[in-house]
């Protein structure tokens, strides 16, 4: 992830964005920003306003009110400039199925004004990146859904955009294809792309994203680093301990350590896992030193965090509006 300073221009800056469709307020005073070279998740229930926000950012929809800037360019006053710097992948499969993978990518690369020789190089690169190099002469209609999604991702990369806007890229994919897609996204972040991803698959977003925005009923419920969202007031001072083998009397030994309030078994007790509640006065590092001195066969020792699912359910309202 890039070093972010106070002067860093946000990749995407949304300020007081509001939009209504025929009297229905889809977005209300939406404000958040996405920093460059980060992977930013955008989550919310169905009908929360995710796709509307994405469409405003990618200039397909002109907002009623508010300011949206992409790399410092206003989407309303400079849509052409914005379009050249972003790659948008919509939430539905939209492809020319009668073309081959190469023809499809060549068409979009040519539309972005790339010369033939340059197109060959770029298409080769994006196909390698998406692991589709062996399928370049296959018909799109003959590809599986996961492969079509990769071709869609390759398509948004042909003009080397700085920002990728991905609307539900993992929807309809099997677990294997989803994992592969997430690997590709990690690689894209590594090479310096800013990725703004709208998704329902929260478990993968939690692992993948640096920051997250939660939207519900057209309003922002949270926007910030993923770590902050997953920190819970209830779980402050609560730590998870995992041992490699079951050891008799370990609970008593743990309770004897300085700063321990309680030692309990987790929901599915195995004899090797413990949930420790520590006093506020003792830090994780200090307690870890004590654990090392106890000479226990440690596997992991980590602060308990909320699951993104829990955070999501707390922040959003159940039911469709």
């Amino acid at each position: 992830m890039a070093v972010i300073t106070r002067d860093t221009v946000p990749a995407i800056s949304v300020t007081n964005l509001s939009h209504a469709f025929r009297g229905h307020q889809a977005l209300h005073q939406v404000t958040f920003c996405v920093m460059p070279q980060t992977l930013h998740g955008f989550v919310g229930p169905n009908g929360a306003g995710k796709t509307t926000t994405l469409k405003v950012i990618c200039t397909l929809l002109r907002q009623n009110r508010g300011e949206v800037e992409v790399l410092g360019r206003n989407v309303r006053s400079d849509p052409e400039g914005v379009r050249r710097r972003i790659g948008y992948m919509p939430d539905h499969f939209s492809m020319y199925r009668q073309m081959t993978v190469f023809e499809y990518l060549d068409f979009f690369a040519a539309a972005y004004g790339l010369l033939a020789a340059e197109r060959d190089r770029v298409i080769g690169d994006v196909l390698t990146l998406t692991d589709m190099a062996g399928r370049r002469d296959d018909l799109i209609s003959g590809l599986s859904r996961g492969m079509q999604q990769r071709v869609g991702l390759a398509r948004v990369l042909v003009h080397d955009p700085e920002i990728l806007l991905l609307d539900e890229p993992a929807s309809g994919l099997d677990p294997g294809a989803r994992i592969e897609l997430m690997e590709i996204l990690r690689e894209l972040r590594r090479i310096g792309k800013t990725i703004f991803i709208s998704s329902h698959i929260l478990s993968e977003l939690a692992e993948l994203c640096d920051s997250v925005t939660v939207i519900d009923r057209g309003q922002i419920r949270f926007s910030g680093p993923m770590d902050v969202l997953l920190e819970s007031p209830d779980s402050a001072g609560v730590w998870n301990l995992k041992l490699s083998v079951v050891i008799a009397g370990v609970r008593e030994r743990l309770q004897g350590c300085e700063g321990v309030v309680s030692v309990v078994d987790p929901e599915f007790a195995t004899g090797r896992d413990f949930v420790l509640r520590l006093k506020d006065s003792i830090s994780g590092n200090d307690f870890l030193r004590q654990l090392v001195n106890l000479d226990l066969p440690l596997v992991s020792f980590s602060q308990q965090r909320r699951h993104l699912n829990d955070a999501f359910m707390e922040l959003t309202t159940r039911g469709v509006r």
């Binding site: 948008y88 060549d106 979009f108 033939a116």
Partner: protein, 519 residues
Amino acid sequence: MLQGALTLFNWTLRVDQRSRWPHLIRGGFALFMMFALATAWLDAFGTTRAGLRFFEAVCYLNIVLITVSGISYFVTALTEEKEAGTFALLQMAGMTPLAITLGKSTSRLVSSLLLLVTQLPFAFLAVTLGGLLWQQVIAAWLALAAWLILVANVALLCSARCVTSGRAMALAGLLAMMFFGLPVVIVRTLAALPTVIVVAPTFVDVLQGVVKVLTNISPFSRIDEILNNWQQTSWLGVQFWGSVIPGGLCFVLSTALLGRWSRLAENSGTEGYVRGRRWLAGRCGRLPVAWREFHFFTGGYSFLVVKLLGGGALFAGFPALVWTQTGRWDWKPEGDVALEVFFACLGWLTVETLLYASGTLFAEVRQGTQSSLAMLPISVTGLLLQKLLGCCLALIPAVIWTLVATVLGWETLRVRLDMDLLLAWGVMLLFSSQVAAVLSLYTRWAALPLTVLCSFVAFFCLVLPILMIPDVVTVVARSHQFRYTRAFAWCVTAFWIWLLVVLPLQLWIRRRWMEVTRV
């Protein structure tokens, strides 16, 4: 089975009921009938049998509309499920082929028959204008309903047979052309043959039998019979049973072979076909949208060559026909032949133009690619113009053969063709193609029939200015001693028609396209 079919039938009827367009179309038909009736009433002063003339025009227009809409509406009944990948889901839901064909086609048939019913009260009003009996109205409406049943079920058969809507439409269109064109070709060929070639009498009998059957089933012959020879005919006639029974057979065939054909479609794919075409497409050029449009929407070079050769065969057919009659080979068609060649080429150009106009934007919406296109650094106008260019390239064969027919038959055309009417045709084609493009962004498959209806009404509104403006401009130009008065008059007419008729439609297309890209 019956429950599944009823569910599907109910569902499609509800969709039809909730959708705005079917009601608008029915309302449009009613308005059209009122318009036609008013025109007939105005024409009736000092004439007799005005009702008959009005009713005749309505019936013939209905035949054209049923044919066009039948092809475009019913061919998608099953292919839309195949294209959306939901056909297998219907089968998994326990729906038999009969339930699927019944459920998918009956609602459309009912919806189409409702269009005929909407017009019936107005049709009865024609009786009051004179020259028509109410019995003739009923008989004509039965003939139209029978024709609808035949067209619908033949289209359903094409829909069951083909993998995509485009192919089903092409097959149904070919069958319709053969239905109407074959009798003419056979009769003219047989009339020409005896002078040079001796043919077995049995073969001639078979061909004459084919002509008789097709003529008996033809709705044009039947309407002509009802309106002009009512005393000699019955309520139903051969045409009714000759349409309903083959229509029923097509339905049975569709149902019986649906499972087999859909399995074949799943296993075959289109790879070979596309691979064969691909080597001709080459690399994308400076105008990528035009390249894509030409190669992947209109069929590319291979289709272009086929159309060039096909046009050549059509063109050569007429001199060949003259040769068989006179023993003289002359590439320059004269008299009636020159007119027939010219109108055949003009008809081809018209149909192809309307097909491209109604399909080019709709294809993007159907594939869901409009937002991807909108994100390209190409302006909306530039994108639409590139699409136009791609389609225009595909029209080259039709344009070439029309020009050849014009040049070679110029001696006849110059004398027998009113150039102002030709200009009117050009304007109407321009108008209709824009209307087809607009409507294709609103309706799913009804763009073409609606275009025919709109163009029919618009013709009466546009033809007067189209014919009057050149005359007025000519007079004014002559008074100012302009040299090329007629050409100048046409340029002025074309400008005003573009400004007042075509430009608003083009702006409408642009606006609607931008709306569609946001979906």
